[in-house]
């Protein structure tokens, strides 16, 4: 069962506006986070602690937004008694906002690497971080795009990007382990790197969650039960 999600068809125009604004707030949050991510990558590449600090400070804004979204969701549930697809939208928005807020926290953690003692001077590390970072940015973009358009195909494509990210993550882990083995005296510095890399990976996971919400939003089924591959096959067959 699949049917296009229609937002603008409620009898109450105000309700339409409210749901539209709610959905839009997630996209706004996502856009801001994308910007944060891009800035973070610049800070890493150019080694700009000031920029990194600004990014960290910006996170408070995202926390505030998440709170607002949560309140709005509660208000809509209380006053509008949404049912079926409307209810799913509200729930999804609440959950997505939560995930986005966590992404923000992860970005702050990544920036800490640039800010504090400085990251180890290593080419492979820089290249690896930028690689995984760029992949993350692209995945975030794809996810938000899929969420905005309720596009299941786009969601699956974005969802699949996570496996690449995992691959890069694993490679980075291995290299980091090598580095620690060879320079045990720098272990504390590399531990920070480890956390940073982990944060990147976590962002990927959260993007994956949001992609899954797109399916929940559309079909109401919890997509974790169904393999994404099956979904993809089905979608390709249908469309």
């Amino acid at each position: 069962m699949k049917r296009p999600f229609q937002l603008n068809t409620h009898i109450s125009a105000k309700y339409n506006q409210e749901l539209e604004a709610l959905k839009h707030s997630v996209l706004t949050m996502g856009g801001l986070l994308e910007q944060q991510m891009v800035n973070t990558l610049i800070a890493i590449e150019e080694k700009l602690p000031n920029l990194a600090e600004r990014v960290s400070l910006n996170d408070a804004k995202i926390d505030g937004m998440e709170q607002q979204v949560e309140q709005e969701c509660m208000r809509i549930i209380a006053t509008r008694n949404p049912a079926a697809s409307d209810l799913r939208l509200v729930m999804t928005v609440a959950k997505a906002a939560n995930d986005l807020e966590r992404i923000g926290d992860d970005i702050v953690r990544i920036n800490r690497l640039v800010q504090s003692k400085g990251m180890p001077d290593s080419d492979f590390l820089l290249a690896g971080l930028l690689d995984i970072g760029n992949r993350i940015v692209s995945m975030m973009r794809g996810t938000l795009d899929a969420f905005a358009r309720q596009d299941e195909k786009a969601a699956i494509i974005a969802h699949k990007q996570d496996s690449d990210i995992d691959r890069v993550y694993k490679k980075l882990l291995e290299q980091t382990a090598e580095e620690i083995k060879s320079n045990p005296e720098e272990i504390y510095m590399w531990m920070d790197v480890l956390w940073t890399v982990r944060s990147f990976e976590r962002i990927g996971d959260r993007c994956k969650n949001i992609c899954e919400y797109v399916f929940f939003l559309n079909s109401g089924t919890n997509r974790k039960k169904i393999s994404m591959k099956k979904n993809l096959k089905r979608l390709l067959k249908n469309g």
Partner: protein, 268 residues
């Protein structure tokens, strides 16, 4: 898998015959040559609360009234199809309507107490049935009022006019009046549409208590109410049964676009 939330809801299409309270087969109703119900097939589960929802004029009340043949009060009506209650098609020619209606109680949208005392109102049906023993009547009145959660409020003024009661009390009196006949099935036609929200909640609570003893079918315009009280829900649209499912499904993940549009308040 470990279950966090206990729910014992049998899916609609898995209902067996002896779990069925009312079995409607190919039921069509016409008023004045205009089709109001169009070949309805539905199995109303026994000892559950089933809500009928849909827009005004979609045939909810007609469907409800066909369960005790109240439609026949309108002279220009025509019913085809079958309604089976207790392994009997109530639309057979020799059906005793009075007996049927005492087994299938009905409560209407607006409380319509007779201009008699509370006591007389409750035992009206029993007296019609020919019950004369004062003791039996007294017991039945107390029982019915107790079941309808009204006994404590009116025990001291049983012989006052029923018209002195408040709206919510009157509606509970109407339920008591139907319960006095110990019906198997209780039909409620928008029983709370004229009442305030708190009184409505009282009546809803009362309804969910009653399903222990009767099969309950409720027509309501209030979606939240249908979602709150019902175990099953049927959505009707212009005389057709669009969807019938357990309420958990119908109000979270309806199978049909029309149902979805109706319950989320979209253009029909």
């Amino acid at each position: 898998m470990f279950k966090l939330f206990e729910r014992e809801v049998i899916a609609v299409d898995e209902l067996s015959l002896n779990q069925t309270g009312i079995d409607v087969r190919e039921l069509s109703v016409e008023f004045d040559g205009k089709r109001v119900l169009n070949e309805i097939n539905i199995r109303i589960p026994k000892h559950k609360i089933t809500a009928l929802i849909g827009q005004s004029g979609c045939g909810k009340t007609t469907l409800l009234s066909s369960f005790n043949r109240m439609n026949e009060l309108n002279r220009r009506h025509k019913t085809t199809g079958e309604v089976w209650i207790d392994e009997r098609n109530i639309y057979n020619k020799r059906e005793n309507l009075a007996a049927l209606r005492s087994r299938v109680g009905m409560v209407f949208q607006r409380p319509n107490p007779f201009p008699m005392s509370i006591y007389e109102n409750v035992c009206f049906g029993l007296k019609i049935k020919g019950e004369t023993s004062r003791r039996v009547l007294d017991d039945a009145v107390e029982n019915a009022l107790d079941q309808a959660a009204l006994w404590e409020e009116v025990r001291d003024r049983l012989f006052d006019s029923a018209l002195t009661l408040s709206g919510g009390q009157q509606q509970r009196l109407m339920i008591a009046r139907a319960l006095a006949l110990s019906p198997e099935i209780l039909l409620l036609d928008e029983p709370t549409s004229a009442l305030d929200p708190l009184t409505t909640l009282h009546i809803e609570e009362l309804i969910s208590q009653l399903k222990k003893t009767c099969t309950i079918v409720i027509v309501t315009h209030n979606m939240q109410q249908a979602a709150r009280v019902s175990d099953y829900a049927a959505f009707l649209h212009q005389g057709d049964l669009i969807e019938f499912a357990d309420s958990d499904v119908l109000f979270t993940l309806p199978a049909k676009q029309q149902t979805e549009d109706y319950i989320t308040g979209r253009y029909g």
